[in-house]
Amino acid sequence: MTRSSLSSSFTVTVNGEPQLLDLDNRTTLLDALREHLDLTGAKKGCDHGQCGACTVLLDGRRVNSCLVLAVAAQGRSVTTIEGLGTADRLHPVQQAFIDHDGLQCGYCTPGQICSAVSALDEVDRGWPSAATADVGAEKITLDDSEIRERMSGNLCRCGAYVNILAAINAVAQ
C-alpha cells in the first residue's frame, strides 16, 4: 500500500513471521533486514551483486538481497541465516561448516550457507549448471566441480573454499 511517493508500507514474511515495514522505496531487502529488522546475519560485501555475502532465500530460492528492493519482496517470504538454524538447532549445512572449518573471518559465511542450502535444493530439482555434463539428464550427479561452480557466486577472501566444498559434500552424502 503506497503511503507517499517516497516510502511504502507493506508486509514481508521474514523467517516465518509477518513483518510490517514502512520504508523508503530505495531500501534494498538487504538494508531492510540489517538496518530495520536488526537481522545482521546477511552481510554486505559489495552492495552490487558481485560477492554473494548478502545471499538469503526468497520464496525458497537464493537471491542477492542487495539487488532486491524491499518493496519488491512485498507479500513474499524471506529466510535469512537466522531463520535457517540457531545455536541449539543448527541446520545440517551450518553444522557441516563448523565440522569442516568452512569459515575463517565468517563474513561471507551466512551467504555461503544460504547459498549452499539453495544450491543443494536446485540440484535435487534437476536444474543444470555450467558444470553439468549432460544438461538433459534427469538427475544431476553432484560432484566437486558441480559444487564449485554452483558456489562461485559467493566469494570468500579468506579462501575457505576447500573446506566449504568438503562441508557441502558431507551434507550431500
Binding site: 517516497l6 523508503d24 530505495r26 531500501t27 538494508d31 540489517r34 538496518e35 536488526d38 537481522l39 545482521t40 546475519g41 546477511a42 552481510k43 554486505k44 560485501g45 559489495c46 552492495d47 552490487h48 558481485q50 560477492c51 555475502a53 535469512t80 541465516i81 537466522e82 538454524g85 540457531t86 545455536a87 543448527l90 551450518q94 561448516f97 563448523i98 565440522d99 572449518d101 569459515l103 575463517q104 573471518c105 565468517g106 563474513y107 561471507c108 559465511t109 551466512p110 550457507i113 558444470a131 559444487i147 564449485r148 561452480e149 558456489m151 562461485s152 557466486g153 559467493n154 566469494l155 570468500c156 577472501r157 579468506c158 579462501g159 575457505a160 573454499y161 576447500v162 573446506n163 566449504i164
Partner: protein, 702 residues
C-alpha cells in the same frame, strides 16, 4: 572458595589439537556482530564524498541542496570538521584543508537519518575543484625515483656484502631479468566500518580493524585525548589482510562526524570506496641478477626493487629484503627505490615485501635451474646457507630443506621430466613448478590480564584481534595449557582496547606476540594460586603481564618460518587460460597451535597467492588518476571454481628462541612463493617465462 588446581590430573596438552573455532557457532548462525552492526540509539548514517580529481584543491562546497534534502542533518567538510593533530599518518589528516592529494580522497561526509538519504545527499553535494595536472604513472625511469633511508618496518634500504659486480662478471652462468607485479587490493569481505559515539569528551568506537589498541592510540593522538578517554571495540572482524592494520579513514571520519552532531554516527565504506581509501599493495618492478657456477652454486645475488608511494606518507615496501636471508652467496646486494606519485598511499597487503619479492627471486632461481640444467629443488638445497647470508647471524631454526624434501615427496616431484612444453593432454599443456616460501617470525610487546574467578573459571583479557585467523581459539588453548585446565574453564575476551596495549594481527606476529603475554600472565597467576594453596579467594585473583622487557631481551638471531610450494598447471593452448589442478604446501613454522585453523589459514594464503598469480591486478586509469577496476566485478579474486586440490602440511619444528610457546606466525607465509611456483609451472608447461603478474591469458599466448 573452589579448588582450582587438581595436580592429580594429567591432561593432554591442547596445543596442536584441531579444536573447532570457538566463534564458529556465532558465525554460522549470523549472531556474530561486526563493527557496522551495532545499532545505537539515535544513530546517524554518514556517506563519504570522494574527490573526483587526483590533484588540486577544493574551490567551493555548496551544501545547500544537500541540506535541503529529506533526512539530511549536516555535511561535514574541511570548513566545519574538528581540527586534528598529526598522528604520524598523513592519510588520517582528513578534512583539514582544501588540498586534494589523490582521487578518491574523502572531501566530505553527508550525515542523514537513513542510509538512502545519506547516499542521495552525497550524490547531490555540489563541490567544485581547481584541478592540477597529476602524475600517477609508475615507472622505473621516473626522475623523481629516490632511495628511501629505511624500508618497512625499519630495515636499511640497501645492503651489500662482497663485490657483486665483479662476481657477476666472473660467473659462469648469469641470469639478469626484470619482473613486474601490479598494484593489488586487499579486499577483505567486510568493508571498513565504524560506529562512533561521544559521551562528553569520551569516545567509544566499534571499528573494523586488526588491532584495537593501535587504533585507540591513533585516535588519542588525532583528537588529543588521553588513553582513558578512548575505547575501541572490534569483537568480530571480517578479514583485513593488512587493509585494517592501522586506523584508516572511516574511524576518523565517523569520530569527527559524531563530534559535530553530538550523536552516534556510523560510516561504512562501499566496496568501490575501499579501492582508494584503505590501501593496496604497491606495484613493483624488480631486477634480479644471479651469478653462479655451472652446478648452480650462487656466486652473486643482486636484487633491486622499485615501488611507489604517495605524496602524503612515505610507505617503502621491503620488496628485496627476503633476498638478504634466503640463499647462500658470497656476494649479495639489495636496494630499493621509491617513487612518490599523486596516488593513495600503498599499505600492507598480506606478506608485504615477501609476496612480490619472492615472485622475482623464486622465478629467477627457476631460470637459473633451467640455465644450469639442475633440478629446481636441488638448486635450492645446493644454496642452503648455514648462517644468514647478509648479516652472518644464526637462524633460530631453519627447515627449508626439510620442507623442500617433504613437498617433493608428497607431490611426486622426483619423476618429473625437466623439459618444458612436452606434455599435452588434448588442448591442455601440462606442467609443474615449485618455489620456496619464507616469512619473518617476530614478536612485539603485548599486555594481558588473567583473572581467576571464585567459581574455578578463568577470564583472559587481551587486546588481540581475530580477523579470521583463529587467534581467539588458539589463545584459549594456550591459556588453558598454561593454566593446566580444560578449555571450557577459560573465557578469552579480545577486541577491546580497554584490555591494554597489544600487538595488532599483522606481520604474522599476532598470535605469537599475544601468546607470550598470555603465558606470562597465566604463569604469574599460577604462582599466586600456589601461594593460596590452589584456592581462589572470594574476590578472585588477578595477574597482569607485559612482555616489553622480554621481547627486548631476545637474543640477536634471525627468526623465520619456511615453506615449499609445488603446483601443477594446465594451460589451454588456444585461450591462454591457466588452471591449477593441484597445489601442495609444506611449512616449518614452529609449533602449530591449532591444526584445524592453521590448515585453513595456510590454504587461504595459497589461494590468495593463486589469485595473485592469475587474476589480481588493479589498473591505473592515467587520465583520471585512479584505479579503474574498483569493484569485485572488475577486480578478480579467486572464486570457488578457481580452486581445485590444495593440500598443506607442516613438519615438526621445535624452536625455543621464538617465544615461550615456540610459535612462528602463519598468516602470511602461505602466499609467499605461490605466484612464482605457478609462473614456473607455466614455463614448464609452455616453455614461456612469465615475468609479469598476473599471468593473464593474453600474456600466455602473446
Amino acid at each position: 572458595m573452589t579448588s582450582t588446581l587438581d595436580p592429580a590430573t594429567t591432561r593432554t596438552p591442547l596445543m596442536g589439537q584441531g579444536i573447532n573455532r570457538i566463534d564458529a557457532i556465532a558465525k554460522v548462525t549470523g549472531e556474530a556482530r561486526y563493527s557496522g552492526e551495532y545499532p545505537l540509539d539515535g544513530m546517524i548514517y554518514g556517506w563519504v564524498v570522494q574527490a573526483p580529481i587526483a590533484k588540486g584543491r577544493i574551490s567551493d562546497i555548496r551544501p545547500a541542496t544537500t541540506l535541503s534534502m529529506p533526512g539530511v542533518l549536516a555535511v561535514l567538510d574541511y570548513r566545519n570538521a574538528p581540527r586534528l593533530s598529526d598522528a604520524g599518518d598523513g592519510e588520517l589528516l582528513l578534512l583539514q584543508g582544501d588540498r586534494v592529494y589523490y582521487r578518491g580522497e574523502a572531501v566530505a561526509v553527508v550525515l542523514a537519518q537513513s542510509l538512502e538519504q545519506a547516499r542521495a545527499g552525497a550524490d547531490a553535494l555540489d563541490v567544485s575543484y581547481l584541478a592540477e595536472s597529476h602524475d600517477v604513472l609508475f615507472r622505473a625511469d621516473h626522475p623523481d625515483m629516490y632511495t628511501p633511508e629505511l624500508v618497512n618496518p625499519n630495515f636499511p634500504s640497501a645492503s651489500n656484502v662482497g663485490d657483486v659486480d665483479a662476481a657477476l662478471a666472473a660467473a659462469e652462468v648469469v641470469i639478469d631479468q626484470v619482473y613486474a607485479t601490479p598494484a593489488e587490493h586487499n579486499n577483505p569481505m567486510e568493508p571498513h566500518a565504524t560506529t562512533a559515539h561521544w559521551d562528553g569528551d569520551t569516545l567509544l568506537v566499534f571499528d573494523s580493524n586488526q588491532g584495537a589498541s593501535s587504533v585507540q592510540m591513533s585516535l588519542c593522538r588525532l583528537f588529543d585525548l588521553p588513553r582513558s578517554a578512548v575505547q575501541v571495540k572490534s569483537e568480530h572482524v571480517g578479514g583485513g589482510f593488512g587493509a585494517k592494520g592501522s586506523a584508516r579513514p572511516p574511524v576518523v571520519l565517523a569520530s569527527m562526524a559524531a563530534r559535530l552532531l553530538g550523536r552516534p554516527v556510523r560510516v561504512t565504506l562501499t566496496r568501490q570506496q575501499m579501492f582508494a581509501m584503505v590501501g593496496y599493495r604497491t606495484p613493483t618492478i624488480q631486477q634480479v641478477r644471479l651469478g653462479s657456477d655451472r652446478s648452480g652454486r650462487l656466486q652473486a645475488l643482486d636484487h633491486l626493487a622499485y615501488s611507489q608511494t604517495s605524496k602524503i606518507l612515505e610507505f617503502a615496501e621491503q620488496t628485496a629484503v627476503l633476498s638478504r636471508m634466503m640463499y647462500a652467496t658470497p656476494n649479495l646486494r639489495t636496494a630499493h627505490r621509491l617513487l612518490p606519485l599523486d596516488v593513495p598511499t600503498p599499505r600492507w597487503m598480506r606478506a608485504p615485501g615477501e609476496a612480490p619479492g619472492s615472485f622475482a627471486l623464486e622465478s629467477a632461481m627457476d631460470e637459473l635451474a633451467q640455465a644450469c640444467n639442475v633440478d629446481p629443488v636441488e638448486l635450492r638445497i645446493r644454496n642452503e646457507p648455514d648462517l644468514e647470508p647478509d648479516s652472518g647471524r644464526p637462524f633460530s631454526s631453519r627447515n627449508l630443506v626439510a620442507c623442500l624434501r617433504e613437498g617433493a615427496r608428497r607431490f611426486g616431484w622426483d619423476d618429473r621430466d625437466r623439459r618444458p612444453a612436452i606434455r599435452q593432454d588434448g588442448r591442455w599443456l601440462m606442467g609443474s613448478g615449485m618455489a620456496s616460501s619464507t616469512y619473518p617470525a617476530r614478536n612485539a610487546p603485548s599486555t594481558c590480564q588473567v583473572q581467576a574467578r571464585s567459581d574455578g573459571t578463568f577470564e583472559v583479557r587481551i587486546t588481540a584481534s581475530d580477523i579470521g585467523t583463529g587467534a581467539r581459539t588458539a589463545l584459549t588453548q594456550i591459556a588453558a595449557d598454561a593454566l593446566q585446565v580444560e578449555l571450557d574453564r577459560v573465557e578469552l575476551r579480545i577486541g577491546d582496547s580497554d584490555f591494554g596495549p597489544a600487538m595488532i594481527a599483522g606481520g604474522s606476529m599476532g598470535t605469537a606476540s599475544w601468546s607470550w603475554a598470555v603465558v606470562k600472565a597465566c604463569r604469574d597467576l599460577l604462582g599466586q594460586l600456589d601461594a593460596h594453596s590452589g584456592a581462589v579467594p572470594a574476590g578472585g585473583l588477578l595477574a597482569r603481564a607485559d612482555t616489553k622487557d622480554d621481547v627486548a631481551a631476545q637474543a640477536d638471531v634471525t627468526r623465520h618460518a619456511f615453506g615449499a610450494q609445488f603446483v601443477e598447471v594446465a594451460v589451454d593452448i588456444r585461450t591462454g587460460e591457466v588452471r591449477v589442478p593441484r597445489m601442495i604446501g609444506v611449512f616449518a613454522a614452529g609449533h602449530i597451535v591449532n591444526a584445524r585453523t592453521a590448515r585453513s589459514q595456510l590454504i587461504g594464503g595459497m589461494i590468495m597467492g593463486l589469485g595473485m598469480a592469475l587474476l589480481e591486478e588493479s589498473l591505473m586509469d592515467l587520465r583520471f588518476g585512479d584505479y579503474l577496476n574498483h569493484d569485485l566485478a572488475g577486480y578478480h579474486v579467486a572464486s570457488n571454481a578457481d580452486v581445485r586440490s590444495i593440500e598443506v602440511s607442516w613438519i615438526d619444528e621445535q624452536d625455543d628462541q621464538t617465544n615461550p610457546s615456540g610459535i612462528k606466525g602463519i598468516g602470511e607465509i602461505g602466499i609467499v612463493g605461490t605466484a612464482a611456483a605457478i609462473a614456473n609451472a607455466v614455463w614448464h608447461a609452455t616453455g614461456r617465462r612469465q615475468r609479469t603478474l598476473p599471468i593473464r591469458p593474453d600474456r600466455v599466448i602473446s
